[in-house]
Symmetry: C2
Subunit: 180 residues, 2 copies
DNA sequence: CCAACACTGCCTATCAGTAGATAGTTTAAT
DNA sequence: ATTAAACTATCTACTGATAGGCAGTGTTGG
């Protein structure tokens, strides 16, 4: 892993714990073993780092989901796949969704970061909408609404589980979500 | 409104926009027209201010909901009341739920603040559980799960609406929630 | 083949601004 | 005379950012 990648990874952990203001160039530098001035070589400003962080997070997230049509044709329920990916993010890392936390504080984000956060949700909603269209008989409007309900439930459940330090809240929230 | 109340109000606005790290004693002092050192007279430390902020927010929130039994007996659907209060928080202030945002960054909060955030959710879940028990034929376990699903959906929908700068997302998410 | 050059990735040193917090003082009301 | 609520002045620590240096790694023209 390059220093640049290490910096992004360190930043991701900190942002997922405490938001955009919870990391500094000095802390990241210390963690990866370089000086804070050198971080500016890789990312000219903090906003640049934040924007690239959100961009890569979104891209990796969508990539890991896979293709809706492919999943469906292989006999997998894409909605279950989506839910499982959120569950993994919580149970494995014990941290918030990066874009969930940043989304909540969107008002104070530099615009390039905010743009990437918006993209995360528009892309995930589009993915989920397709998932509902493939998986159950419905129309576009209904599928859109189901997509919104599903991702809202997941982000909210994640948040409350972390606030309450109780992952069983998340499990209760998603019970029966991807059945039938 | 006393200076202390003004400080709490100013802090609330800032926290609901960008989390715990998004306010400083200097900014609050400037906004209410005193010096930053004077803020320490009212709140010895930042953690004290944060804890009192979360405490009052929770108390006011529960108080505004009213009594489940009273609502039910007056022919009102308590679940609809709960949903309406979240909708109001979003549409009126165009800001996140204070405890929602703070809950997401619970890992970095001073313990007294974190304790208050936990209380917000345990109290709201208890209120909602009662609401479901009163409003529809169910058992305690089902009511608990419904409570978790409902508050998760509301907090998540709020978050995504703010991230996307689109309140219609919230409205879609709650469509049909408090019917029948 | 090799000297000149440029690029990469880091460094030191430093800046102005802001953070939370403290000690001690003034002002005004009780 | 006491107390509440503000003040001035100051501290140490940290913030993002900049200027400029330096070693290593090509890369290229004579």
């Amino acid at each position: 892993m390059t220093k640049k990648e290490e910096l992004l990874q360190a930043a991701q952990n900190r942002v997922r714990e405490g938001g955009y203001n919870n990391f500094s160039f000095r802390e990241l530098a210390k963690e990866v073993g370089i000086k804070s001035a050198s971080v500016h070589y890789h990312f000219p400003t903090k906003a640049d780092l934040g924007a690239e962080l959100a961009k890569q997070y979104t891209n990796n997230f969508i990539l890991a989901l896979g293709d809706v049509k492919t999943l469906h044709n292989a006999g997998n329920n894409p909605i279950a796949v989506f839910v499982a990916q959120f569950k993994q993010a919580l149970h494995h890392d014990q941290k918030m969704c990066l874009c969930g936390l940043l989304g909540a504080e969107a008002d104070i984000l530099p615009q390039p970061v905010r743009t990437e956060i918006k993209r995360f949700f528009s892309q995930n909603l589009a993915w989920l909408e397709q998932a509902y269209l493939y998986h159950e008989p419905t129309n576009k409007l209904q599928a859109k609404q189901s997509a919104i309900k599903t991702i809202s439930l997941l982000e909210g459940a994640m948040m409350i589980s972390i606030a309450s330090q109780d992952n069983s809240i998340f499990d209760s929230a998603i019970a029966g979500l991807a059945d039938h």
